[in-house]
Symmetry: C2
Amino acid sequence: MSPLQVTRRGLLGLAGAGAVLAGAGAAAGYGFSTGAPDDVVGFRGAHQAGITTPAQDRLHFVALDLTTTDRAAVDDLLRRWTVAAERMTAGRETADRGAIPADVHDAPADTGEALGLPAAALTLTFGVGATLFDRLGITDRRPAPLAELPGFQGDRLDPARSGGDLCVQACANDPQVAVHAVRNLVRAGFGVTEVRWSQLGFGRTSSTSTGQDTPRNLFGFKDGTNNLKAEEPALLDDHVWVGDEGPDWLRGGSYLVARRIRMHIETWDRTSLDEQQRIVGRDKGEGAPLTGTAEFDIADLAATGPAGPVIADDAHIRLASAQHNGGARMLRRGYNFVDGSDGRGHLDAGLFFVAFVRDPQRQFVPVQRELARSDRMMEYLQHTGSAVFAVPAGLRDGDDYWGRTLLA
Amino acid sequence: MSPLQVTRRGLLGLAGAGAVLAGAGAAAGYGFSTGAPDDVVGFRGAHQAGITTPAQDRLHFVALDLTTTDRAAVDDLLRRWTVAAERMTAGRETADRGAIPADVHDAPADTGEALGLPAAALTLTFGVGATLFDRLGITDRRPAPLAELPGFQGDRLDPARSGGDLCVQACANDPQVAVHAVRNLVRAGFGVTEVRWSQLGFGRTSSTSTGQDTPRNLFGFKDGTNNLKAEEPALLDDHVWVGDEGPDWLRGGSYLVARRIRMHIETWDRTSLDEQQRIVGRDKGEGAPLTGTAEFDIADLAATGPAGPVIADDAHIRLASAQHNGGARMLRRGYNFVDGSDGRGHLDAGLFFVAFVRDPQRQFVPVQRELARSDRMMEYLQHTGSAVFAVPAGLRDGDDYWGRTLLA
């Protein structure tokens, strides 16, 4: 192992022993350790990590605004971000001797709270908002689908929880690792960006791999049973990855739609099991469609019973289904949240919806319009935040960096 | 295994198979499972769980206010809370067939989002605030140490994040398990209590057992090295458990002091390693006092160097030390938090300080007064929330319940 591969765990042992980096020979002696092989998610590739990566348990999402119109300063930040991000996803500090600089008169380059923690499958996924293009005077480069979403019936959006020039989605199996990564990127952006909003999620609400169980949302139902999965590359090409229709920098990339959805859990909790299951269109225990018995049974939207359609006309899974929406599908990657209380005696809880799509205007917008208008579940929901970001393609090996092909 | 011991994991398999509870014989056939033995923390005993229990990774803390002055209604709620809490800490639903009631026309008794999740070492620790006694007309039963804390220099307390008639501290190794527990207790309190404030913590900042590593706070330093530990029963008797000086219901109990401490991490991150270490009085890598080389070395507060005391007069560990405070010690059990952003471009991050003490007025107040006045770290901190609760003794076996000896 070369010194450059020293992880946070290893470096900590090393610093504590008062030693200096001495190469592979020192590794065993100073208690170096790398994360378990499956604990590190590769940073480079055709697509950014954190999209089809099996959804990690925890999220810290941050949206930032530029505080400058200087394109060179932004370009420089993105170079520095890329270096730090690649290091952190490998379980390393943002810089060598980052937390414990050799010269004690230096401010540490790494804030240190992840010292001793593993990589925890950290992924950092980077995106740009429509407003960035205006801010930097490159409006002509903005792809048409990267536009503010239209208003939907029932929306109650808080501008302080919406939009942003840039975003970073940090997912990890240890929340402190995700928080550390966002904090260090925010810090590196001082003078160029500032935090617009930030959201922690404590429990994933979708699976993005066939190897994962379907988790439950705060309505107590399995969520995302019909999600697109990493093991379906042809469907991902159709529904997630931007193809030849997009600009160079976005081919192989995607669009990220974020919606902060407050759930009125107190009202929901007063409804009967029957009503809950009718609203969702699935049974609560197994997550099977009401026309089936097992979770992954295909919903029979045409089936009727004595009282009409088995899966109601206003059931969530009908209105959200690909069949009902001209085949539109998404790769969902949301998280449950609780953000304290609302000042009116209730928990401020819900779902931070994140979806990756090839075209938000063609996939997310028509589905959400339909849900906002007709989904009976909307009585128990309120959308309080909204944002869309273009997520560039993955980075090639070498000196490639976030946004290079966009800003260069 | 009797049907009453069915866990959430087991019940889920059972409900999915459409079967009914059929006793021990059915267990293997329907895929019952219990949590791993060390995954369940015992609920009853001389002291409440969640104090000396090895600190779990995640926290959901809730403070509630009574919406009634009817003592019988509160007594009834506490009985119901105790039943639900004991079940949930065992990895079970709040009631048999709670999430999937036998009659679909019933509202589920359990909200269901923890179905399939393990017990995750959940502990639920219950406390009462000073205001409860006035509200219920039992002011004469309020123990003297249970009083609002005095104001401290630099405090900027938000009333909406302070106080409360009741509290529940939920700690678990899975945040969804902690959130589920708080939510279901809040729900059971409908008509009797409402949420006053709630705080999620994502990473423990103290160890409460010698078997745990010392974790790091958001200043990147190990925190709570000198914490009281479960393995020190004589010290716990001296510093944590209320003795004969307290009323019956509180003997063997404790006081919980909660302080929401915002950290100005951006400012901290600009200081040099040297300055950070002088402020703390420890080195950042190992966590050793500046007069030693290993984390658990005893700090030599008398040691001097060429420039004066090695551990500065205004260093945090000096001012917080037992030596400096007439022997006062605490059992700390805090958590790191990030609550989104502050609207001014920064993360709203810090430490949710929780400490258990035998007498907050004699232990917490003088130490905090000294820190508020002299600790150089205070430049980087702001206390934004505050509360004190009396935490009754543990429950005996049988029909004992939270608050019984207080309200009866």
